[in-house]
């Protein structure tokens, strides 16, 4: 639809007025005591890097006000900022920093993600925030923790509960926030199996990334896990993978085997290579891991391959078996269909028709001169 020319001015006017009036409204979403939005409220606040990429430093107040970190002042994380305007950022935010403004109610100390960060650092995925080379392929906290926006339609606490709390805690806003904070953590916050597989596959299914790491490991003489290069593909081909693919959640996903069930939430950050004795898929721990679901599993069972594949390097038997199966299938089908066609050709030549009519199918003229007597 083309807008009539006479509407152009009113529309521009309306948009300008709307933008001007809405900006202070947006800023009112959270307390910006440090006045960071003074600059970062501008959508065009960007920088072109040395590589030619455009980096945006725009903070959308109404979005940030709905994230988990909305109550944390900017400089609790961006602690390297000491003056305004601040200098170029070189280290970035480390997720193990302490939030001085938020106290851990259990210990009274400043809140920090340090315990889980340290578990992550010890894992096979552990890396620093800013790294060069192949380690930069490893996930940092924000690769998985995408800081999701809260559901704006989320139902708050019922009035009768808030009424009871405010008698001592006085502040209705605080009570509502505390209720939401606690109730959200009581609810299951895991990704569902399909999302877990998709997340792991986003790296372990990336062939260029895999090639880089295989090449690097070769150069360094480092041995990678036997299934490293086919982890995602072979899982998809496995029974577990096929069922998860259809949204069935009672089968193993990546984390069910590669994370320890002792403390799921901690161990998903502490995934280790199968060569590490602490890994749940280390050969000494494999049986216990299988037994979480397959209760009758024994030593033999633990030797079954959960990442099956028919590649020549890893599964010679299945590789050749599959080839033989394919040849047999093709030969059988071509042979049988060919036989039927040949049979039809021979019988047609002798006068058979496609319909059994008037008590016979042999109504056509035979090339051999022995037809049905009419």
């Amino acid at each position: 639809m083309k807008l009539p020319i006479r509407w152009t001015l009113p529309v521009i006017l309306f948009m300008t007025v709307f933008t001007l009036t809405m900006s202070p409204y947006a800023m009112a979403f959270f307390d910006d005591d440090e006045a960071c939005l003074l600059c970062h409220k501008y959508p065009r606040m960007t920088r072109v890097t040395e590589d030619g990429a455009i980096r945006s430093y725009y903070v959308m107040p109404e979005v940030f006000a709905n994230t988990v970190h909305r109550n944390v002042p900017c400089r609790d994380c961006h602690s390297y900022i000491k003056q305004l305007p601040h200098r170029a950022v070189e280290t970035g935010v480390q997720c193990d920093s302490e939030c001085h403004s938020v106290k851990n109610p259990a210990t009274g100390k400043p809140f920090s993600h340090k315990p889980i960060y340290n578990a992550y650092k010890d894992s096979v995925h552990g890396r620093d925030k800013i790294v060069e080379g192949p380690d930069s392929d490893k996930p940092y906290c924000i690769t998985c923790h995408t800081n999701p926006i809260y559901d704006p339609n989320e139902v708050g606490p019922p009035k009768h509960i808030v009424d009871r709390c405010v008698i001592c805690h006085e502040d209705r806003k605080f009570v509502t926030q505390w209720y939401k904070h606690t109730s959200r953590r009581i609810r299951e916050v895991k990704r569902n199996p399909e999302q877990i597989v998709a997340l792991c596959t986003s790296c372990h299914g990336d062939e260029r990334l895999i090639d880089r790491h295989v090449k690097q490991a070769k150069e360094q003489g480092r041995e990678l896990g036997k299934k490293f290069s086919i982890a995602a593909k072979s899982y998809a081909e496995s029974f577990h993978g096929k069922l998860t693919n259809y949204g069935f959640d009672k089968t193993a996903n990546c984390l069910d085997c590669h994370a320890d069930s002792e403390n799921y939430y901690k161990s998903v950050h502490d995934i280790r290579p199968s060569s590490d004795p602490l890994s749940s898929v280390h050969k000494d721990n494999r049986l216990e891991t299988c037994k979480k679901c397959h209760v009758y599993a024994d030593e033999n069972y633990a030797s079954l391959d959960p990442h099956p594949n028919a590649s020549l390097e890893d599964g010679k038997l299945t590789y050749y078996a599959e080839k033989i199966y394919n040849v047999i299938s093709i030969v059988v089908i071509i042979g049988l269909v060919g036989l039927s066609m040949f049979e039809t050709f021979g019988r047609r030549r002798d006068g058979v028709s496609f319909r059994l009519r008037q008590g016979t199918s042999w109504r056509r003229k035979s090339k051999r001169g022995r037809d049905r007597v009419v």
Binding site: S303, L304, S340, G346, D350, R355, R370, V373
Partner: protein
């Protein structure tokens, strides 16, 4: 018609097993003497009922076929979308059948019915054979057991189709095609049951097998189940259905799986030896055949026949 040694042997066995009277024997011998040597002329000139003329399958065999037919297709439709999950049709077909939560239950339940059908079939043919042996009516050549004759039949049939022979071979109740199909299906069923059970009870199989074999076995079974299923489906779709629905003379449908009867022209063409037994076991068939061929002047009207008719 001069019978081959093979056909003669079948006829003699049948006459003996049916305790046929001398009069019957004479009647059959006379009929055979009158029949032309060219069998093609016989099956081209008889009249057939599309739904079948001559008894072939008992109600049990028809039930086995029906159960296999239903279970096989249901198993294929519920199983294939799981293996070929990346195919375009997989997701819609799976959703249409109720999703994997439902299809896995259907698949296992139907698998149990398929195993029941196998057992029922084995019981039927075993007990049937025992009953025939004890009644002295058993003839190994009349069973599905393959023999060297089948290889000869196959060779001769190929010669007929290519025009090097003017007659199809004299085949028995089950010809080489049916024997291939039957044993392929039996082997396929066995593979499906064993491999299927290795998915359902992997721990039991692992505990039974030696440690060095357990993983290889599971791998092979994982490979065999879908490959065998797909092969079976392709064989059914492109060979079996062609043979019973689309092949000339069988179009639009061969009714044997419902009525248990085969058409006369089909019996003479593809199962001539069984037709000889029909001549022994079904006295009316001799008269019917004679009348049909006489009316078309394939055989001369015999005096005895004219006398009996008048």
């Amino acid at each position: 018609m001069k019978l081959s040694d093979e056909a003669r042997s079948i006829l003699e066995t049948s006459l003996q097993q049916n305790h046929s009277s001398e009069k019957d024997r004479k009647e059959i011998e006379q009929l055979l003497k009158d029949l032309p040597d060219d069998r093609v002329l016989i099956y081209k000139n008889v009249v057939s009922n599309p739904v079948g003329d001559l008894y072939r399958y008992s109600i049990h065999i028809r039930l086995h076929h029906m159960l296999t037919f239903v279970t096989f297709l249901t198993l294929a439709f519920t199983g294939l979308p799981i293996h070929f999950f990346h195919a375009v049709w997989a997701e819609p077909l799976n959703s249409f059948l109720g999703g994997v939560d439902v299809t896995r239950i259907i698949h296992r339940t139907i698998a149990v019915i398929m195993i029941f059908t196998m057992t029922y079939h084995i019981l039927t043919i075993t007990l049937g054979s025992i009953a025939r042996i004890s009644a002295k009516r058993f003839d190994l050549r009349r069973t599905i057991i393959p023999g060297l004759k089948d290889i000869r039949d196959f060779r001769d049939d190929i010669k007929y189709f290519s025009g090097k022979k003017d007659q199809r071979p004299e085949m028995d109740k089950f010809n080489y095609k049916q024997k291939i199909h039957y044993f392929a299906a039996a082997f396929g069923n066995l593979v499906m049951v064993v491999s299927g059970s290795s998915f359902l009870f992997p721990d039991i199989w692992a505990s039974i097998l030696p440690a060095t074999m357990a993983s290889h076995f599971q791998e092979l079974m994982r490979l065999s189940h879908p490959h065998e299923a797909l092969l079976a489906l392709l064989v059914i779709a492109f060979w079996h259905w062609y043979n019973v629905h689309l092949a000339p003379g069988r179009f639009p449908m061969q009714w044997t799986f419902l009525t248990g009867k085969i058409t006369r022209e089909h019996q003479i063409e593809e199962h001539f030896l069984e037709y000889l037994r029909n001549l022994v076991e079904v006295p009316e068939e001799r008269h019917l055949l004679r009348d049909m061929l006489e009316s078309r002047e394939i055989i001369a009207e015999s005096d005895t026949d004219t006398a009996s008719n008048s």
